[in-house]
Amino acid sequence: MTPPLPVDPDSAAEPGHPARLAELRAWTGQRPWLGGTLTVLAGLTIVLLPAQGFSVVLLPGVAGLSGFVIGGLITACGLFLLFSPQLHGLIGIAAVLLSLVSFVTTNLGGLVIGMLLGIIGGSLGFAWSPPDTEIR
């Protein structure tokens, strides 16, 4: 977990710019929030598809369980992108690879939608650079 982030007092003090919005802006600025959010959505899409209609899931073999395993791992990758942004490179690649694996193991990767969300989200997570990177 990352420590609480400092808030720019200038932006919070601007008229018509609520402090909560400034906090949210500061929070999203410190992490690949778009990539993380897309990756979480990808994992949930893949998880929820086989879970529909069952209260106790007893699907046999890989076809039944892989949706939960792969979808859960992709969701975890998204959460790591949001809450451990320093791992964005490794986690981004893992999210992309897991999304590709989901194509052959889980309903064409959540009917392609979850897989594409995972690939784009993981790529955004990988491509994100933290704010302390020097700007030319």
Binding site: D8, Q30, P50, T105, N107, L108, S123, P131
Partner: protein, 206 residues
């Protein structure tokens, strides 16, 4: 510029106001190979080189007909499951080995549209499905053989190629059966070419 200061010819963001950014070249470096791999996977799955696993939910009435069917039945056992509203129901799980179906036609109606699939041969090394309810069964047959690999009662040799499992052979039979399949799972499922047609004017299998 607010929030930034000049340091040795480079600008560094001040603490608290700095935001991360996306490096689009890095984005392309990982996205493009991933999409390329996806295209390869899609092509391999379409040609059968890469097996894909799929689970489908919902209730889809299907009409299925075939000219011949053979399989080695391994086990048939009841299994209990709980529905979303808390009811406990029993299903019958049928496990088959070395399944082979010839001249299969499967059709389903989605509103006014009919989707029909015809294939000359389907094989599966293992096929499992769970029947929830058997609504109707009508058989008009010409040939039904049930042989066992461990030998016949009179000691005559048998021709089953799956030792230890009874072999079921059906030929020239008209079978009208209606049942609900709760789930189906196939291992090494192979379609030997198929034609698929869909639209308003398509005929169902029967």
């Amino acid at each position: 510029m607010r929030g930034e200061e000049l340091t040795a010819g480079r600008r560094r963001a001040a603490p608290g106001t700095a935001r991360g950014r996306t490096r689009w070249p890095r984005f392309a470096v990982i996205l493009l190979p991933a999409l390329f791999a996806l295209v390869l996977l899609g092509a391999a799955a379409a040609t059968g080189a890469v097996p894909i696993a799929a689970a489908e939910t919902g209730r889809h009435p299907m009409k299925i007909s075939f000219t011949s069917f053979s399989a080695s039945s391994a086990t048939t056992l009841p299994q209990a499951f709980q529905t979303r509203d808390g009811q406990r129901r029993t299903e019958v799980v049928v496990n088959m080995r070395a399944m082979k179906v010839r001249g299969l036609c499967a059709s389903t109606r989605i509103g006014a549209y009919v989707l029909r699939l015809n294939t000359p041969t389907i094989t599966a090394e293992r096929l499992s499905f769970a029947m929830d309810s058997l609504d109707g069964l009508g058989v008009l047959g010409q040939q039904l053989n049930l042989r066992h690999a461990t030998g016949l009662i009179d000691g005559s040799p048998n021709s089953s190629d799956q030792s230890g499992f009874p072999r079921l052979q059906v030929g020239g039979m008209t079978l009208n059966v209606s049942f609900t399949i709760r789930w189906i799972n196939a291992h090494r499922f192979h379609l030997d070419g198929f034609t698929m047609a869909g639209g308003r004017g398509q005929r169902e299998c029967y």
